[in-house]
Symmetry: C2
DNA sequence: GCAGGCTGGTGACCACAGTCACCAATCTAC
DNA sequence: GTAGATTGGTGACTGTGGTCACCAGCCTGC
């Protein structure tokens, strides 16, 4: 399927015409429904996804326990795919679409070339590494300092900002999974937060006050 | 002080003559004693260090508690400095020389240029981002899964590999600080590891069996 | 209607790490 | 020498989060 260059340009305005042309002739665009697996641990990477629309969740798993690392939003990319693609090593993380998404798939064998030739794409990846590095640092700090209530509250704040919703329709079970803890713990802590007046649990979902 | 280009080349063989010449005319080399602060949280970065010899410790601090993130060894660099330098944002981490070290200091205002012009230096930073990303992923997994004994044992293994010593002369207090825990906990866990036959505590230090 | 899922609310219990308060053995300074 | 600091070893206690068991309120399908 030949790609429409102007379609890509809508999302990636920083890219030069030359780069866009290269991408249009080698990449594909793919619509992916929510809940689809993009990348799993141990997998080798042939195409590098850039999220044009939607949301992709990245997480790690360790002996049945998982932990949300970060979300990939619009015009962002997955540095694990990038680094795994470049160095031809397997992925260490999982990625799943959280919403219906539109992905631009770049073939990794072209990437090495493009990175050298087009500063814009190079900058994109430096920015992404940067962003993820600091996000992971925050994750480490919050894990180290423990304090479930802080972690949960921050998690809800982030989630609310990301989705642009004031009332989050989230199952306790899902929160527990993403935070790498147990459902009962979420229930307990959420009630404590409610008593402290930081959140309200309504039938429709959780409201941050 | 004019730099000796061949001196730098000894360490960074992948760099082209042209890049080495650029570096020689703009960078400095600095000998730093053990225990010197290279970078602290909140600091803005003017020079990017590349470690030629020695060892630099990178860690985060959170309310009096610190946690070792990783070590920067020979021909490696500090991506926090790199990213903070490029985007002119403050550092999120601390860095201290662990041994007497020889550092190559690159001015960050040249960096942006060099990265675009010289693929070798670009590759170096991608490699470093990669490496640190996976190291931080391991840190997150070990924090998430808890298990102090595993963490401590892995810490000792890493340390032993890094220093190339079979017997580690380390204070319990220092181990505790680097792992973000308390001294008594280290003493306790270390004794358990000794009972399990995984380590031996000799007067000279800790031996991994 | 009712069975069988989910969901969340709860109490009891446990394990682990963090904290406190000591103490004994070394080492260091003067 | 002695005083003081550093190091490590220990017992007791605590708080937090993880686990277990169970129950009530639902929705959904048939």
């Amino acid at each position: 399927m030949p790609l429409d260059q102007s379609e890509i340009k809508k999302y990636l305005q920083d890219f030069s015409e030359e780069l866009l042309a290269e991408i249009a002739s080698h990449a594909q665009i793919k619509e992916v429904p929510a809940g689809a697996e993009i990348l799993r641990e141990g997998q080798y990477v042939k195409v590098l996804p850039i999220v044009l629309e939607g949301l992709v969740k990245v997480f790690t798993r360790y002996e049945e326990k998982e932990l949300l690392l970060y979300y990939i939003g619009s015009t962002q990319s997955c540095i694990m795919s990038f680094s795994a693609g470049l160095s031809n090593s397997p992925s260490r993380i999982f990625a799943i679409t959280e919403e219906d998404s539109l992905l631009l798939l770049l073939p990794t064998d072209k990437l090495n070339n493009w990175v050298k030739k087009f500063p814009a794409i190079n900058d994109l990846f430096y920015q992404q590494y940067n962003l993820r590095y600091t996000e992971m640092l925050d994750t480490i700090n919050s894990l180290l300092f423990g304090r479930m209530d802080h972690r949960l509250y921050n998690y809800l704040l982030e989630k609310s900002k990301l989705k642009g919703e004031k009332i989050l329709s989230l199952r306790h079970k899902k929160i527990a999974a993403e935070m790498g803890t147990a459902r009962e713990v979420v229930t307990r802590v959420l009630k404590r937060l409610e008593q402290e007046g930081k959140v309200r649990q309504l039938p429709e979902g959780i409201e941050i006050t």
